[in-house]
């Protein structure tokens, strides 16, 4: 049983890598890049929501802010696009510092509301600063420069951008499984206890917030380069809502769940738009409600719980045999009433 669990991880990793490489063959290539970017965005948000216990409702500021900054760097400097994307990510991190500083001391719904408010301020600035951002037309004509290579083909550009996305995923994975990630988990589960152990909880939350923002910026910057423009929608609150929805759909605190949620939402949106359907919000909203009601831990979270229950690691058998692997199951509240 331990062996099979140990084997499961690399297997999953290989499967994920294979999917990432095969994606442009399976779906329309521009959509493939959208999925990759949103998946990284979802994972970055999950770092905060699932692994630190903070629900940010303002991550559009970092995704969209980085989109504009990456776009501006690409338009005005002609530097290779990865530099522009990393510039966007750096901007998101810097932007997250004051926003995080002022909001991490708040909890629950107050944190969500304050981050939302800050994101709307960013939206306001982007909308008003027309000379720089193009206002509601967005920032147009963002080039895909990489040492003079022709990347106009979306299929090729997907592979040019994929290393950035994968690097982002490795970063999220590393953070979650670092000493820092251990402290974040303890803060999520019991902040007062973490404080009593000598941990300055708010400072850890702030660093988590900045890291999450930087990785969201990485995704947003690449998204803008991939589309050739940065849209006003990218800093609008619906973007913040969409990424939260993806994480909840896939399963909070699972990383893989965010990928599934992103793929589902992006693919569905694309399908409905292509079919000329207007009421996208109604369809995605309905699916969201159904999935949240049926799979209370999201798609991936529920699937994982079922697999673990089948292999005898269900909530009914606490601490049986193979507990000492440092990856305790998150099944404490399975039995909680609806």
């Amino acid at each position: 049983m331990i062996l099979s669990r140990l084997a499961a991880r690399p297997l999953l990793l290989v499967a994920g890598l294979f999917l990432a490489l095969a994606l442009p063959w399976m779906v329309y290539p521009p959509v493939a890049l959208d999925i990759a970017c949103w998946a990284l965005f979802a994972a970055a948000l999950d770092l905060l929501l699932g692994f630190t216990g903070l629900l940010s409702f303002g991550h559009a500021a970092f995704w969209g802010g980085a989109a504009y900054v990456a776009g501006l760097i690409a338009v005005h400097s002609g530097l290779p696009f990865p530099v522009a994307v990393l510039g966007g990510a750096a901007f998101a991190a810097v932007l997250a510092l004051p926003i995080g500083y002022l909001s991490v001391r708040l909890h629950g719904i107050y944190f969500a509301m304050v981050t939302l408010a800050f994101a709307q301020m960013v939206y306001f600035v982007v909308n008003q600063w027309r000379d720089l951002t193009g206002g509601e037309n967005g920032l147009q004509g963002v080039p895909r420069e990489l040492f003079g290579l022709d990347l106009s083909d979306s299929f090729l550009f997907y592979y040019a951008g994929l290393p950035l996305v994968l690097a982002g995923f490795v970063a999220v994975w590393r953070i979650v499984r670092s000493p820092f990630g251990r402290v974040l988990a303890s803060i999520r589960d019991n902040p007062a206890r973490a404080q009593a152990l000598g941990y300055p909880v708010d400072r850890y939350r702030l660093l988590a917030f900045v890291l999450s923002a930087a990785l969201s910026g990485l995704a947003g910057g690449l998204f803008a380069i991939g589309h050739g423009f940065a849209s006003l929608e990218s800093v609008y609150w619906t973007t913040s809502g969409q990424v939260v929805m993806m994480v909840v759909l896939g399963g909070i605190g699972t990383l893989w769940g965010g990928v599934i949620g992103a793929a589902l939402v992006v693919e569905l949106n694309d399908y409905l738009v292509t079919a000329g359907f207007d009421g996208i919000g109604i369809v995605t909203g309905t699916i969201f409600v159904i999935i949240v009601l049926v799979f209370r831990r999201g798609i991936w979270g529920t699937a994982r719980d079922l697999l673990q229950a089948r292999s005898g690691r269900g909530p009914g058998k606490p601490g049986s045999g193979d507990a000492p692997n440092g990856a305790p199951s998150r099944s404490e509240d399975v039995g909680s009433p609806v």
Partner: protein, 252 residues
Amino acid sequence: MEGPVLRAQGLAKEFRGFRAVDGVDLDIAEGSVHALVGPNGAGKTTLFNLLTGFLKPSAGRILLGERDLTGRRPEQVARLGVARSFQITSLFPQMTPREHVELALAGATGLTWRFWRSHRLLDRFGDRAAELLDQVGLAAHAEIPAGNLAYGHKRALELALALALDPRVLLLDEPTAGMGVEDIDRTVELVRKVRAGRTVVMVEHNMSVVSSLADRVTVLQSGRVLVEGPYAEIRHDPRVISAYLGDPHAED
């Protein structure tokens, strides 16, 4: 025994007009075991929360040696050498006892900021963690998620966590609450063992525990100090008897 290591001067805490702690002076002698007793609502836990920075006092001062602790945050108080356990077991349900203690040991090192390293970095605290867990009798349970531990083991883990901080002053909030006789005896032995080289302040309801451990006892009532002295003295004080102890022979 020497001068006071931890002092409270005129400490008060007011919640919306209700004075939970009302001008408490407390001198905790270095190396002593000092018990806080009193009926429910006497302000014992509030006093603990004030001493450890979880609540900000409305008035008064807290001193650790020469250092002013007043208004400091909980993590600062913990780093400066005042560690606490919680009355209601307060753990991280998904982490194992070993991981708990490693986290407590790592806090002072700064290693826990390293988000780019593997959590195996914390393995270096494994030996010390094993020692501490052994000391509190948890060696056999080091790898069980804390949420699945038996109650007595959870309380023992609380103690191991406080000890991992290697504090000058150890604050134990009802360490024997909800325990059976055997666990109580074990806990008393444990506190006796770990008090060497430090000062212990404990809130405790069980008078036999107080009598066997405490050098001094402070009796609180309605947020004020009613009496203070060695157990043998205060147990016969008529004010204490009427406030709290009831029949003085009830324990025998």
